[in-house]
Amino acid sequence: MSPQVEAAFARLPEYLAWHVLLSASALGLGLLISLPLAVAASRNRHIRWPVLAGASLIQTIPSLALLALFFPLLLVISAASEDLLGYGFSALGFLPALLALTLYSMLPIVRNGTTGILSVSPAIIQAAEGVGMTPRQRLLQVELPLAAPVIMAGVRTAAVWTIGAATLSTPVGQTSLGNYIFSGLQTENWVLVLFGCGASALLAMVTDQLLGLIEAGAAKRDIRRAAIGAAGILIGIIVALTPLISFGKPASYVVGAKNFSEQYILAEMMAERIEDLGGEARMKEDLGSAIAYRALASGELDVYVDYSGTLWANVLNREDNPGREAVLEELTTELAERDGVLVLGSLGFENAYALAMRQDRATALGIESLDDLARRSGGLTMGGDLEFFARPEWTAINEAYGFDFRARRSYQPTFMFRAVTSGDVDVISAFSSDGRIAADNLVTLADPRQALPPYDAVVLIAPDRVNDARLLAALRPLIGAISVEAMRDANYSVDRDVDKLRPVEAARSLSQTLGLD
């Protein structure tokens, strides 16, 4: 077995356990809500349409968006409950994932449940009344048993959907089999991506088969078969969940990471340093950019690395650019005052947004700066990462230089680099610390009008950890210690196609290079 696959297998018990816990809870909760809804919808014509339409509507929301939307919603609810009841709850991780997946599982159960109950023949319904059943007895002893095969078919569909969609809970901070897929996509580790997809597909298939046994048992009134299916599901859940008894205990420190290689490497580095000082550290990876800061401010995360320009624009909503030092200083005071967040300091390198082009293409077109680019933009195509065109940085350079690109396309970062090297797009949004700039023979374009804010990588500490001596001792040595060249090399060692390192290996080698271990 290759070391990559071996490493993937090593994390399987934890990922699988969370995936199973999440899917099973969502499906159980979905069933608990959907069945009464189906019964009500089958009884009352007036609520049937709204219920079915509502469930269908939820289904049209892309599952990733549904998951992401629950975070701000829960944040508001949690804040309200903290005000009213003095008790808040975690808006990140399990809860938003559970709620979104529960909603997602409802449509097939509600729809099949309603159809199943309605398709019981009127003669049977009347016979049930005629022999003296109450409406409740009729439901439990006649309608539900007769609708059971149809309902079980709906549950099967819901189970397959839920298990598949559960992989998308990784970006809201819930560990799942999606961790393989997201970090694999990010580091171009296709083995990891395939491993994650395969594991989740296999889980879905096995669940489907076992539920199929229950369905067939219900249809053929073969209790033994249904019992085998149910026992299989139950045993499967119990076995899958056993690792959580050890993994589930709350770690003392939660280290956050957004969804790209540099973040994984820095998070691994910080986690290892915390553990070296006798702390316990746990990673929450693949957080969305907007989610990470709020998660830290609310104490979901204890520490993560963000970039001064990002915080400046997105958290403080500032559009001006007073210069690198001033931005850093003002951030430190403002975040402390506003949210109690500690800006421990800059790591020593910038990961700024920069527009990059292929060297040969830039030379041929005579483009060295954004001013040159603006003059030529009418004939060029621009590629951005998934959030770039929605970010204030794009607005800022667009206003400063007046671009008029022929077309704009958004990519997952990995594919964005592919697109620029293959010539599908002419210019891309890149990060100055990205190892692929040098490796792919790209050049970054100068920003003479200083439209792009500075992007110093800074370590942020959660409000309730600002006086945590162990944490501060573990992380202080990193401040000012990482040069952009060192970071670029480390990033490239993870992003390159051959001899890829895993983020944890890159972190170790970076520590060694910098003499930090």
Binding site: A123, I124, Q126, A127, A128, E129, G130, V131, G132, M133, T134, Q137, V142, P145, L146, R221
Partner: protein
Amino acid sequence: MADPRIALERITKTYGGHQALADVSLQIAAGEFVALVGASGSGKTTLLKTINGLIKPDSGEVRIEGESVGDLTPHLLRRRIGYVFQEVGLFPHLTVAENIGITPKLLGWDKARRAVRAAELLDLVALPQEMGGRFPAALSGGQQQRVGVARALAAEPHIVLMDEPFGALDPLTRDSLGDDYRALHERLNLSTVMVTHDMTEALLLADRIVVVADGRLIADGTPQALAASTDPAVAALLAAPRRQAERLRARLGETA
């Protein structure tokens, strides 16, 4: 005089402009066996269902043993009245024995007592005991109909309402089952209302025949009284079995 077991007073029922029952009054005493006859769509099933409250009349009152049906809890009333459906309506997910034992189960009889009762009733409707464990789908139409009769009788009701209970049976089984039921009716002093399309069956089994036409009762009397009726519609109903009997005699006489 004691209350009649069943009393219908001035019952009307209208379905979107169509009068299914028009001002129907009927009293049935304990021990009476009444046959309801009449053309298809005349309102027989509607009449039968108003008795156990499956259909609520638009006006009029139904009383069971002196109590107004409107004042009784519907499911408690129905557990006291056996009903054989025209469409049979056996529960497909329950075995034959479970189907027979359903009302006793709702009444809280224990398992052993239900099993004994199911076995008795299988005997009564002339089905082998082995069939108790089968599902209704594995029975012929006539066998299903007999289970329907057994289910109606299971909780030992005093009132039995039967909507064409023997329609799908061969003449031999039909005859003997009719006789067996009539004997049971007498032994337990039941009140039975049976809908039938077979005039001969009505004449042979019932104490009293009620003729329904377009939602009205056009005749009500003993078989002998009906035979003497001068009403053309009633005469026409009786003419059919008479004619059949004559033709039968003529034919069998020829071949003999």
